[in-house]
């Protein structure tokens, strides 16, 4: 029999106003096993805590019930208090008589009656509590960053600067991500490449950072502090150690008709390519889908011209296994595909472009060398219409329900740059709302309107019709209350952004949760914004939600700080409330293993004593307490009832049910 102490808190008048605390402590004193019961004004105060500790010594308490505020508030506090008095932290139970009793009831009698029942349930539970000790698991002092965009680079640099090894896995042949495709950045209009490329070089040259470019994460096992990751390095048919990045092969390759993905298909490249001049690592890659040598075995020009002898047509995918303590997801975003938005004639006219394509057309390193020319005929456009919210803030299934957040600002930037470079152009922006919160953002937008004379029109574009080399734009002007017909030379669509398509399979691999839009969810939307609810997984950049560059970099550094905090530890305290199988009852059916979201359950053949001095070999479930998060899915899935959860055992919950229904 436990010796239980009951401590009823007044919480000033928060509890005492609607719960007769004196009566509660008196009634609960009559419960079996209760050897001491009292009440006090503020149980969480220094004096209250000392009282609990003294009572533990004086009455040799083996269990403590505290009737107070929510366990979410002070469970940890009271556990620590009791631990200091020599009682196991898990011998403490909280009866929530504030949030779930005194605050929701006005009547003293009702409140008191309910508080007594809640107290009884806690006492019934604590009778069955057993001391639990949290295990320790070691921390591998190495971090993995998935995605090498500005988010991944910044996170990796910050972690590496703190002295920990970091690996970046990037699926493209070069790191840099979307920011490499951008021309200028808002609100300062400084060149994106000028601020990004030095960071890319820093990452490549950092002795603590290793970049796996043209690679993908194939498999993730393990748990916080101890992830085992398999990385697939895709065959690029070029020996990375030999290639000098001279680029001769990319000039001599006879296969010239490959759509250049870096320029979003606005021009062509060769089958062997370096995405752009400042690529990191600057190594050529053969596009196996277009290379004649790989497809038919006839060509070999690149191999002949390569003075370094780096071309290797026989290269295959290689797999690398590495251990990590923490994983940062920085998979970024993509603009949505616009095939469902045919009213804007995106698939009908090459002069209807997305904003990212427009970015390439304005870029000095882009297909037109920075001169704004229409993709159809190479003429200079005189009227440009920008359409906002294409697929963003959309109620129907075609688009996304959320605001993509960056479009208002980059459109203001595009409009401004157009007017600055070509003052003879007329620029129209059709918007639903202009959303420009952010430091110096609204000032930037107002400059576009006031100084640069961009025509901002509230209203949506209904239809774009290509006609006689022009684009007829039909739109409504909501403020002017009229229909507008504009003959445009170019239409630029601010496509909604969505998480990268690799994010969903990756989330499954990491058991990290996602929202309905495939953005990774954070552990707490306000207080833990850069951690995934899955321990050891951190979030950086637009994989968590639409973000501009300043926000991405801020979150990247925040994620790095969290990773550094984790990697600084030599070992981690595990959650002691884990599942535990009764090996004598387990028949090794695998039901529990199938429902475990963490892969914490494995099976082992164990010897058991059989009849007549025989030994039987049986397959039984085993729980890795360092991996188990204590959800209890396995306990209910187990058909033989062999699995139970420490701290929330079947008996404990049943006892609570009994106490409440008594």
């Amino acid at each position: 029999m436990q010796r239980i102490g009951v401590f009823v808190c007044w919480c000033g008048s928060n509890i005492a106003a609607t719960v007769d605390v004196e009566k509660v402590s008196q009634v609960l004193a009559q419960e079996p096993g209760v050897v001491f019961s009292t009440n006090y004004q503020y149980m969480c105060s220094q004096a209250g805590q000392e009282m609990i500790q003294e009572s533990i010594h004086k009455y040799q308490l083996t269990g403590v019930v505290i009737c107070s505020c929510s366990p979410r508030m002070h469970e940890a506090t009271f556990r620590k208090t009791c631990e200091k008095a020599g009682l196991n932290a898990h011998m403490v139970e909280i009866a929530n008589i504030r949030e779930q009793c005194s605050w929701i009831h006005k009547d003293m009698a009702t409140g008191t009656e309910k508080a007594v029942i809640l107290g009884r349930a806690a006492i019934a539970k604590v009778h069955l509590n057993a001391p639990l000790t949290a295990g320790q698991s070691p921390v591998k002092k190495r971090a993995l960053v998935i995605g090498g965009g500005i988010a991944g680079i910044q996170t990796a640099l910050d972690i590496a600067d703190a002295g920990f090894d970091v690996d970046i896995v990037e699926k493209q042949p070069t790191i840099g991500g979307k920011m490499t495709q951008i021309d200028k950045t808002f609100p300062t209009l400084d060149c994106a490449a000028c601020i990004l490329t030095p960071k890319m070089v820093d990452a490549a040259q950092h002795e603590k950072i290793h970049i796996y470019s043209y690679a993908e994460v194939e498999k993730v096992k393990g748990f916080v502090g101890n992830f085992q990751v398999t990385i697939k390095k895709k065959a690029r048919y070029v020996d990375e150690t030999k290639c000098t990045g001279c680029g001769l092969c990319t000039e001599k390759c006879p296969q010239k008709k490959v759509p250049n993905a870096f320029n979003l298909g606005l021009d062509n490249r060769r089958a062997i390519y370096i995405p752009f001049a400042q690529a990191v690592p600057k190594i050529a890659t053969i596009d196996a889908d277009y290379c004649t040598m790989l497809k038919s075995g006839k060509c070999g020009v690149c191999s002949k011209v390569c003075t370094a002898g780096a071309i290797d047509y026989k290269q295959t995918d290689t797999y690398i296994e590495e251990e990590y303590g923490a994983i940062v997801v920085a998979t970024g975003f993509n603009p949505i595909k616009l095939d469902k938005y045919d009213e804007f004639a995106y698939s009908q006219s090459p002069d209807v472009v997305t904003s990212l394509e427009f970015e390439r057309l304005m870029n000095a390193a882009g297909p037109t060398g920075g001169t704004l020319l229409r993709p159809s005929d190479g003429a200079h456009p005189h009227t440009i219409v920008f359409v906002q919210c294409v697929g963003s803030r959309c109620d129907d299934e075609k688009g996304k329900p959320y605001c993509s957040k960056i479009c208002c600002m980059y459109t203001a930037k595009h409009a401004m740059l157009c007017r600055e470079k070509y003052p003879d152009t007329d620029v129209y922006v059709f918007y639903i709302d202009v959303r420009t919160p952010g430091k110096n953002f609204d000032e930037f937008y107002r400059r576009a309107v006031e100084e640069y004379g961009v025509h901002y029109i509230k209203g949506m574009v209904g239809k774009v019709v290509p006609q006689d080399g022009k684009l007829k734009v039909q739109a409504s002007d909501l403020l002017g209350g009229s229909q507008l017909h504009i003959e445009a030379d170019m239409v630029v669509l601010a496509a909604a952004i969505e998480p990268d398509e690799t994010a969903r399979p990756l989330a499954t691999m990491l058991t990290a949760s996602m929202d309905t839009n495939d953005f990774f969810t954070e552990a707490h939307p306000k207080l833990r914004p850069v951690e995934s609810p899955t321990a050891g997984i951190f979030l950086s950049g637009a994989c968590q939600g639409p973000k501009d560059i300043p926000e991405t970099v801020a979150q990247a550094s925040a994620a790095a700080a969290k990773v550094i905090g984790l990697l600084c530890k030599d070992s981690l305290t595990c959650n002691p409330c884990t599942a535990q199988p009764d090996e004598l009852m387990c028949n090794g059916c695998s039901s529990c293993e199938k429902v475990c979201p963490y892969g914490a359950i494995t099976y082992a053949d164990k010897e058991f004593r059989g009849p007549n001095r025989t030994t039987l070999l049986r397959r039984v479930a085993q729980v890795n307490p360092a991996v188990c998060q204590g959800c209890g899915a396995c306990t209910v899935a187990c058909p033989s009832g062999a699995m139970d959860l420490k701290g929330f055992s079947n008996q404990q919950i049943m006892a609570e049910v009994d106490a409440i229904c008594r």
Partner: protein, 146 residues
Amino acid sequence: MSVTENFKPTIVAFCCNWCSYAGADLSGTNRLQYPANVKIIRIPCSCRLNPMFVLRAFQKGADGVILCGCHPGDCHYTTGNYYARRRMTLLFSLLDFMGIERGRTRVEWVSAAEGAKFAATMNEFTETIMKLGPNRRLEDLRCRKD
């Protein structure tokens, strides 16, 4: 039989630790009233709710049992509430077949931000139970309160 005259139903609410228990706390913080008949038991995840607990509650004299968990897709343990949803669908059909009316059992998704929803749900649920009257079907007569 005027059973409903002084009928004070016992309602057991199983709340998952991450969303619904926090939602219940929030309705307290916002001082939103719901009947004292509702007593909450904290479980780590809605998937921890063993059908045995529901049966036990009815057997011991509970008049209604409600399970609250994170919204589908938001489970702290990724998939727990999906298991709970399927399991409870089955269990509640079985209970209905056994004579425990559908109205006595319920699953509701309440997030940590939905204090108002929690209180509203509990008000509504208690009202339903009041209308249904005391649970006599599965109650272990040896546990009779009166």
